[in-house]
């Protein structure tokens, strides 16, 4: 005979969706409130309830809200773009980064040329922007490493989607 777990006063969105009893210790209840039914529906469609359970059980409790948020985000991206999902967004953002790096390199080259030609009319020969070097790290143009350790970005550059 199954032990009778105390029942929650109101079912969370996950238990409502799966038409099951929502208990006080329901894993989903803190993250899928009853007034947000679409949130769980999206995650369920892409990942499935049992996979979400496994993922949440692997994550420490203080980080579960972030894990749920990222799962919801990924599910939304996959539903919007069933073929590429989040990878499409990453590729698009990387294109933007590469363009920015190019523009920064051009600007840096132009600055170098401007600096050699400039002669200030005032007694100060220091650019007012030099005091901001530390704040914005103007020397670190090459510090745009994106790789999060899974080699994903390197693979995207080597094998871009058509």
């Amino acid at each position: 005979m199954r032990s009778q777990e105390p029942r929650s006063s109101s079912s969370c969105a996950a238990c409502k969706f799966m038409k099951r009893r929502c208990t006080l210790h329901c894993l989903f209840a803190p993250y899928f409130r009853a007034d947000e039914p679409k949130k769980f529906a999206k995650v369920h469609k892409v990942f499935g309830a049992s996979n979400v359970t496994k993922i949440l059980n692997e994550v420490p409790e203080p980080q579960r809200q972030d894990a749920v948020n990222s799962l919801v985000f990924e599910a939304e991206q996959r539903l919007k773009d069933p073929v590429y999902g989040c990878i499409g967004a990453i590729a698009s953002l990387q294109d933007k980064m590469f363009q920015l790096q190019h523009d920064l390199a051009v600007a840096k080259a132009r600055l170098a040329r401007c600096s050699t030609r400039t002669s200030y009319p005032s007694c100060s020969t220091t650019s007012p922007f030099s005091m901001l070097d530390g704040e914005f790290g103007m020397t670190s143009f090459d510090a745009f490493v994106v790789d999060q350790g899974c080699g994903l970005t390197t693979e995207l550059r080597q094998h871009p989607f058509p």
Binding site: E58, V72, V83, L93, L100, R110, L111, P162
Partner: protein
């Protein structure tokens, strides 16, 4: 049972039919690929997704699912979304640096006293008008 089962049918220890939806994408010689995708999405969801996808796009779909699954396994909290968030941050930093560089160029140009030779035809011109890199991109607000 056929000895040329795909990785999926081998995983489930079942016969691999000639029209198996998974066999073109999960070859027998790379079982880890399916294990990865199955761990995050499940075979049932994967099958439904493939059935809804036109045949010519299925290879790309599987590739993207595999990459996302790998990211999620390596980072169970943020997965791919962490990469997107990180890219957004880096883009914002780069945009600030670019804006600053352009402002400095404008300042230096305005303060040039020494006569300059006219630029050669091939000299690249830095765009003076800012380019919108989508600060209002919908991906900005994924943290609820």
């Amino acid at each position: 049972m056929t000895s040329t089962r795909c990785a999926v049918c081998k995983y489930f220890r079942r016969r691999c039919p000639p029209d198996c939806i998974f066999s073109p994408h999960f070859l027998n010689d790379n079982p880890q690929r399916f294990t990865c995708v199955h761990k995050i999405y499940g075979a049932s969801n994967l099958g439904k997704l493939l059935q809804e996808t036109p045949m010519q796009l299925r290879a790309d779909t599987i590739e993207s699912l595999y990459y996302e699954a790998k990211c999620r396994i390596q980072d169970p909290v943020y997965g791919c979304a962490g990469i997107i968030w990180s890219l957004h941050q880096q883009i914002q930093i780069a945009q600030s640096q670019l804006a600053r560089a352009r402002a400095e160029i404008a300042f230096l140009d305005a303060n040039v006293v020494v006569a300059e030779p006219t630029p050669s035809p091939g000299e690249p011109v830095v765009q003076q008008n800012g380019v919108d890199y989508g600060l209002d991109d919908p991906y900005d607000f994924w943290f609820y």
